[in-house]
Amino acid sequence: MWHLLQIELYKISKRPRTYIAFVAITAIVVIFQFAFKADGQSYMDLMLQSVKDTFAFDRVQAINGYFMCYIILNTLLIQVPILVALIAADSISGEANMGTLRLLISKPISRTQIILVKFAAATIFTIFLLIWMAVTSLFFSILIFGTGDMLIFRSKGDESQILLITSDDVMWRYYAAFAYATVALTVIAALSLFLSIFAENSIGPIIATVCIVIVCTIVSNINVPIIDKHVKPFLFTSYLVGWKGFFYINTDADNNTIKGSLENWPAIRRSLLILVAHIFVIVWASIAVFKRKDILS
């Protein structure tokens, strides 16, 4: 299996489209960093407008590397599924399109191995993508904006909340958030891989993946009791932004944040388990379908 994975990673590394995702992330991050460096003050004024009398904070100091990373992730982690689909949706359909699938299957490797290796390669690509996101959005931001205590703006029901996380309590939360995001995006990778089994070019599975994510995200945001109870718990999109849970910190009676605490760890753990279950089910379905598929490409 290891040599199959090496081959798969080598093939991915040699395809120009692989680097589109990295370039796109870099471009978005650089634009954000430039905008905040040039006029971050206006953004902070807007966000702190409602609490300017009750919440004393140095607004210039608030725009630091940690804060920047959080802002960027809020935007990027919605778009990244498309970038993950770009590679994962090409896994089988790309081989079918090139005509190499029939050669691949006529070799002494099983179809289960092919799916597992393709999935592993897509997961590794996702990990690299998130590492690159971490490097650009967190470490580059720290280099540009420095460090400091981190502000989190949060909407909780009808009210807005501002949380303050001290600088020595931030990094572990980012590591955990990126690990969570990896699991969440791996669901997208598995879904794209599954869809790619049915197609003979990668455009269809990419569009199908994006459509599924959009539809499920919309459903996840519909606030109707019957959907809340019977649909949302089973949609992976309900858990895609669960990484934010690592930044929702507990507060004491005086409304001071408690260092090292998480507001709802059981919810995060449950979300992770549901995402992992999605991965297992989708990969299992991919194997089952691919094993029965006649290769006619």
């Binding site: 040699k14 005509g99 006649d294």
Partner: protein, 309 residues
């Protein structure tokens, strides 16, 4: 001779359309086995079933004496194949492609081995060039290198001369003959051209609409005794009467204007007699009856060869 491929009662249906119908045949060790049929006859579907790309609806395939279904990896490690077009990773070099498929075949890859293989197909000087810059002929040669890199005992080639120029076709033919005669490989080659099969294969099968029509040795099937002579003269009705009254009457085909089936060696003597009978000849064409039969499958002319099942 041991049977290398044994196909028994193989059938395949796609959406209730039968593409391969109860097909049985045997390829023996050392054979260059021609798999002949018009386009859509079921050749590629059968080959894809031999390579586990398609699952049979019914029937059984054994290769090297083992059931394909239960010994898939073991069998495929000894099989090399070019299926239709030799599609490879266009964004990778010839060397990388060969290296990848060699490793997928489970062999230990060395630079020396890969270069030797590329040299064999005349691509050693283009080893580092990307496949997308290759001509169809070069891709075909690289496809052959990929199929042979792991030194397989059985080579399956699905229409390997498609898209090749005359030189490429000749090179491919020589390569197949070399593989068979010098290296003792068993080769199964599909084609829709009888002329292609008759020069390289020692045994052959003709399939039509997924069913076996003829199977046997090429020498027997292309026996000169089954040569068909088509005569055209200034007055074919009168010519037929003259031939019917001569010693050639028994060779005259029923319901055919001027067609005789006979041994090819007797043709010069026939022509002399036709001239002696004052038949003004416009043309005398000879073709093998198998060729006519094969042609009839394509044109649905209803011709039935004397040896057809």
């Amino acid at each position: 001779m041991a049977a290398i491929i044994e196909v028994n009662n193989l059938s395949k249906q796609f959406n209730k359309i039968t593409v391969v119908n109860n097909l049985s045949f045997t390829v023996e060790e050392g054979d260059v086995y021609g798999f002949l049929g018009q386009n859509g006859a079921g050749k590629s579907t059968t080959i894809r079933m031999l390579l586990t790309l398609i699952k049979p609806t019914e029937g059984e395939i054994s290769i090297f004496g083992k059931k394909l279904q239960t010994h898939r990896s073991e069998i495929l490690s000894q099989v090399g194949a070019v299926i239709e077009k030799p599609d490879l990773y266009k964004y990778l070099s010839a060397y990388d492609n060969l290296s990848i498929f060699a490793r997928l075949s489970g062999i230990k890859v060395t630079k020396q081995l890969l270069m030797k293989q590329l040299q064999m197909v005349g691509l050693d000087d283009r080893a580092k060039d990307k496949v997308k810059t290759f001509s169809q002929g070069m891709k075909q040669r690289l496809g052959i290198a990929v199929a042979l890199i792991h030194n397989p005992s059985l080579i399956i080639l699905d229409e390997p001369t498609n898209g090749l120029d005359p030189q490429g076709i000749a090179d491919m033919r020589n390569l197949i003959l070399m593989l068979s005669k010098e290296l003792g490989k068993t080769v199964l080659i599909s084609s829709h051209l009888l002329s292609e099969i008759e020069v390289i294969a020692n045994r052959m099968i003709i399939i039509h609409k997924g069913q076996k029509k003829i199977e046997g040795s090429v020498t027997e099937l292309l026996d000169p005794a089954h040569t068909m002579i088509d005569i055209d003269s200034t007055d074919n009705v009168a010519a037929r009467e003259k031939i019917a009254a001569s010693k050639w009457a028994s060779y005259l085909q029923q319901d055919k204007a001027l067609q005789l089936m006979m041994n090819r060696t007797a043709v010069p003597s026939l022509i002399k007699d036709l001239v002696a009978m004052d038949i003004e000849l416009l043309s005398v064409n000879s073709s093998h009856s198998l060729e006519n039969y094969f042609l009839s499958l394509t044109t649905n002319s209803g011709y039935v060869a004397p040896f057809a099942n």
